[in-house]
């Protein structure tokens, strides 16, 4: 019993414990002080962030790619959802009894996921595989530069082909907003939160319990070891990239009602996802989910008490502090893998 207690105290004193407890206190304080909408906003924003950042974590943890084109896959997702949903909503405007009123948005969101995955596969074949074939030296730097190039390319392709205007929709699902604890939240927000929670859960289950998920984790921990036990790395890399881009795409698709699609829309989710990944440590899915909610809380609380323009500044300061004092991230693993050296 006393050992148990000691363990708990040690946990509270660790960076992990302090941050989690601190976040809970901050959330409670803000909720009591300003009202429950702070908590509701945090949960909804956090759910969205979790989708983007798990994809980024996966790229970084498994492939050692510092992905800076992740926001562009978010953009691709939102763009494809827009082009699928617009005809659907035109159709449902004429036929209000159609089953597409309920399922149309789902079709659009699902399309954004599939298009994201395909875009990821294309990126792997055109960009990352040729680089891997060419040289393994300086992989982190070279792949990083390539992703920045990819990002610029995709932004300009969007502008060239689809134009620089905002391509947005008014809403996915109509109807009365839900109300939780005296806060009204639009139906779209609630559903997109449920959807992202469901996808993150599926993703976690996939990584934990399936053969392929285990293989992905094995590659992230020791690529040579994975080859030795009979894992085909090329297949795993392809799967990981498409999975990661599908997560970014579905995030873009399900948030289309909030963020209309335009060429540089990917920057904000990219920065936010990087905040989460740096905060939570690399290659840690559950850590990324927890980190997503912390960054969301920080954003919401900053908007509430400091001002709406500051919601990028305060998390940035926190990231700087973390990089100085705990570069492995709050949930960073105590066990060092091969990739960490």
């Amino acid at each position: 019993m006393s050992d148990n207690l000691k363990d708990k105290i040690a946990w509270m004193k660790s960076a992990k414990g302090i941050t989690i407890l601190g976040s809970i206190f901050l959330a409670l304080f803000a909720t009591i002080n300003s009202g429950p909408y702070v908590l509701v906003n945090t949960i909804i924003t956090g759910g969205m962030l979790a989708l983007v950042s798990t994809g980024l974590t996966l790229m970084l943890g498994v492939l050692n790619i510092a992905m800076f084109a992740h926001g562009e896959f978010f953009m691709i997702g939102s763009l494809s959802a827009y082009y699928v949903f617009t005809p659907i909503s035109n159709y449902t405007a004429m036929h209000p009894d159609s089953f597409l009123v309920t399922w149309g948005p789902m079709v659009a969101i699902f399309t954004s996921m599939v298009v994201g995955a395909i875009a990821g596969i294309i990126a792997e074949f055109l960009v990352f595989r040729p680089l891997r074939k060419r040289a393994a030296e300086n992989w982190v730097m070279n792949s990083f530069l390539l992703t920045v190039g990819l990002s610029v390319l995709l932004v300009n392709l969007h502008q060239l082909i689809f134009g620089a205007d905002f391509k947005g929709i008014v809403r996915y699902w109509g109807g009365m907003p839900f109300s939780f604890a005296d806060v009204f939240i639009s139906r779209d927000r609630v559903i997109s939160f449920c959807l992202s929670a469901f996808i993150v859960f599926l993703f976690w289950a996939f990584m934990t319990y399936t053969r392929t998920g285990r293989a992905i984790r094995a590659v992230s921990q020791d690529a040579t070891g994975a080859q030795i036990v009979g894992i085909n790395i090329e297949t795993i890399v392809l799967m990981t990239i498409s999975l990661s881009c599908a997560l970014a795409g579905v995030a873009g698709g399900s948030l289309l009602f909030m963020y209309p699609s335009y060429p540089t829309m990917g920057l904000e989710p990219l920065y936010m996802a990087w905040f989460v990944v740096i905060l939570s440590g690399l290659g840690n899915i559950l850590g990324a989910v927890a980190g997503a909610f912390m960054v969301a809380l920080l954003k919401v609380v900053t908007v509430e008490y400091v001002g709406a323009g500051w919601d990028f500044v305060v998390p940035s300061i926190l990231i700087m502090l973390i990089l100085i004092f705990k570069p492995s991230g709050i949930f960073g693993s105590e066990v060092r893998g091969v990739l960490d050296t």
Partner: protein
């Protein structure tokens, strides 16, 4: 002949390390490659395991040409490689590591049987099955690496420097576990720097020097060879 290597050239990038290495291993044999640092022992092993693709020469396993195949296909053919660095999955538990070793076996029941088999062989691993591999001691990690290699039910096991970085008594226990493995009918190819011990436990040996096979023969003969005595044992 289980494994036959003919005039193998291999290396890293432009750096050639192996020059026309030829060696063979019969079924059930316990063969070792000894030699000084940088002679190309580990390179030979990595080339057989498919981690390095050879520049020239051929490798035949069970009568089948496996030269230049990627590592995962070579594992599927029945060659397990226990590398010097062990390449364990440090953030996975002992049991998860072992199950990853059986990645190429899809049948869950067979996987369980293999797991039981390895746990019988190394009861120490069974005691620690929930521990993370990254938190284990050097000797236990070696044991785990060998156990993971066994999980795929290999015909040939390549073991690279099992004594590297271990205390003498641990080295002895690692060699003992290889002896146990051998009794189960696995063919073992061992690379070691520890010449005396290695030659006293193996059947046959190759001496590798500067990327070439210098001597070959029965281990007991090599142990008494005047050249080996002079160069490696300093007597």
């Amino acid at each position: 002949m289980l494994l036959e290597i003919k005039e193998l050239d291999a290396g890293y990038g432009y750096l050639q390390i192996l020059r026309k290495v030829s060696l063979n291993v019969d079924k059930g044999e316990y063969v070792c490659i000894v030699g000084p640092n940088g002679a190309g022992k580990s390179t030979t092993m990595k080339t057989i395991a498919g981690l390095i693709s050879p520049m020239a020469g051929s490798i035949t396993f069970n009568g089948e040409e496996i030269t230049g195949l990627p590592a995962y296909q070579i594992t599927q053919k029945g060659i397990a490689f226990v590398s010097e660095e062990m390449n364990l999955f440090v953030n996975m538990s002992v049991q998860e590591n072992l199950l990853m070793g059986a990645y190429i076996i899809r049948d869950k029941n067979v996987q369980k049987e293999r797991l039981e088999f390895v746990f019988d062989l190394f009861p120490r691993l069974a005691e620690r099955k929930t521990q993370l591999a990254g938190t284990m001691s050097g000797g236990e990690r070696k044991m785990l690496a060998i156990g993971r290699g066994m999980m795929s039910d290999p015909t040939l096991m390549l073991v690279d420097e099992p004594s590297f970085g271990l205390a003498p008594q641990l080295t002895a226990s690692v060699f003992e576990s290889l002896e146990v493995l051998r009794k189960t009918g696995v063919t073992i190819m061992l690379v070691e720097q520890n010449v005396t011990t290695t030659l006293s436990i193996t059947d046959r040996g190759y001496v590798l020097e500067n990327g070439k096979v210098g001597l070959e023969g029965k281990s007991s003969d090599l142990l008494n060879d005047a050249y080996v005595k002079k160069v490696f044992l300093g007597v």
